[in-house]
């Protein structure tokens, strides 16, 4: 059953004078409209009965004390939240500072490491990759003088880095009769082994 909209407007006082007169005439002639009007009036009466409901005083009496308690709790919470916020902010700042400081220290170490590496490269051409002791330096095409000089340099490096004495170095080189000069040593060492030896020397020196 659809509600006639004019009934609602009529009871709510939303009809103009003319509209009201016209509707009242319509109402007097229609049983259906009268029934709907009674329906809405009964509903409005029911609503009026629920306007002033009597309840126990307890709830309303306790309303203010409850509010005061809640306010006090909120103040405490605000205080502790403030402290937590301050501590969190301070911690975050500290972490950031540590991170930045650590980064700066690492940046300082890097140039020192680079300097130490460059000292280890025997060749005057310091940009060359010194990871391999293969014929990159053209040892196989060297003359005797050059080979002897390289020999001496290598020996002094080995003594220094491996903590050997000239005698022990001599002993090592005489183990194999075919070894002894840098040319022979190099021929017996493959690229991988050469890289490994070089990196060990480098690593030992830096750390």
């Amino acid at each position: 059953m659809k509600m006639n909209i004019k009934i609602i407007l009529y009871l709510d006082g939303q009809l103009t004078g003319e509209e009201r007169t016209a509707f009242e005439k319509e109402l007097s002639e229609s049983k259906y409209l009268k029934e709907q009007l009674i329906r809405v009036k009964n509903f409005n009466t029911g609503v009026s009965e629920l306007k002033n409901i009597t309840v126990g005083d307890d709830y309303f009496v306790q309303m203010i004390p409850k509010f005061r308690n809640k306010k006090a709790q909120k103040r405490k919470l605000r205080f502790f939240s403030g402290i937590t916020y301050s501590v969190s902010t301070a911690t975050a700042v500290l972490i950031v500072m540590l991170f930045v400081t650590n980064k700066n220290i690492k940046n300082d170490i890097q140039p020192v490491q680079n300097n130490m590496v460059s000292e280890r490269i025997v060749n005057n051409e310091t940009n060359q990759d010194a990871g391999s002791l293969s014929d990159q330096f053209g040892f196989l095409n060297m003359n005797q003088e050059e080979i002897a000089s390289s020999d001496n340099l290598l020996n002094s490096m080995l003594i220094r880095e491996l903590d050997l004495t000239p005698q022990s170095l001599n002993d090592i080189s005489q183990i194999d009769n075919n070894s002894g000069d840098i040319q022979t040593i190099l021929q017996g060492v493959n690229d991988k082994e050469a890289d490994a030896i070089y990196n060990q020397i480098l690593h030992k020196k830096i750390l």
């Binding site: 909209i5 629920l50 309303f60 509010f67 809640k70």
Partner: protein, 184 residues
Amino acid sequence: MADPSGDFDLVKNFIGGDESAFNKIVLKYQQKIYWHARRMTGNHLDADEIVQEVLMVLYEKLKDFQFKSSLYTWIYRITATRSINFLRKNNLKNFFSFEDKESEVVRSNVDIVKNIETKEKLDKLEKVLLKIPAKQREVFIMRSFDELSYEEISKITGKSIGGLKANYFHAMKKIMEHMNENEH
């Protein structure tokens, strides 16, 4: 509408540091605040939550109240806004929540209305009111229960009188249709 006499003095005294003035204001308007929230939410616990929020706002903002409207209009505006916000927040919570129906039943069983007959009538009405949109419900409550004129409702809600009349009409239409369905 509530009798505005004495409100100015109460507010002035509260601003001056008299805490008992705030208590008097609350005593004067607490029932209006509660029942509007109750009719909007349909249950006592939610209404109580809104009441506490409203009192908190009143306490914090009363010192800034400049009597541009009556104190009653201002308090009612806060109550109406908090009620609508609460319903919105609840709708969102319910959408994402996996809470079962049991908690809803518990919520509806806690009540300050002890008379069984009155409670039954109130429950019936609250169920129907919850079926209509919050904005229409709000106007219906202000017009039917608080007997406010459209001008007064307009001051509280900030909406146009024409819009409010339309809202009231649609609310009544839906309520009557729902009541009709329940009877058949």
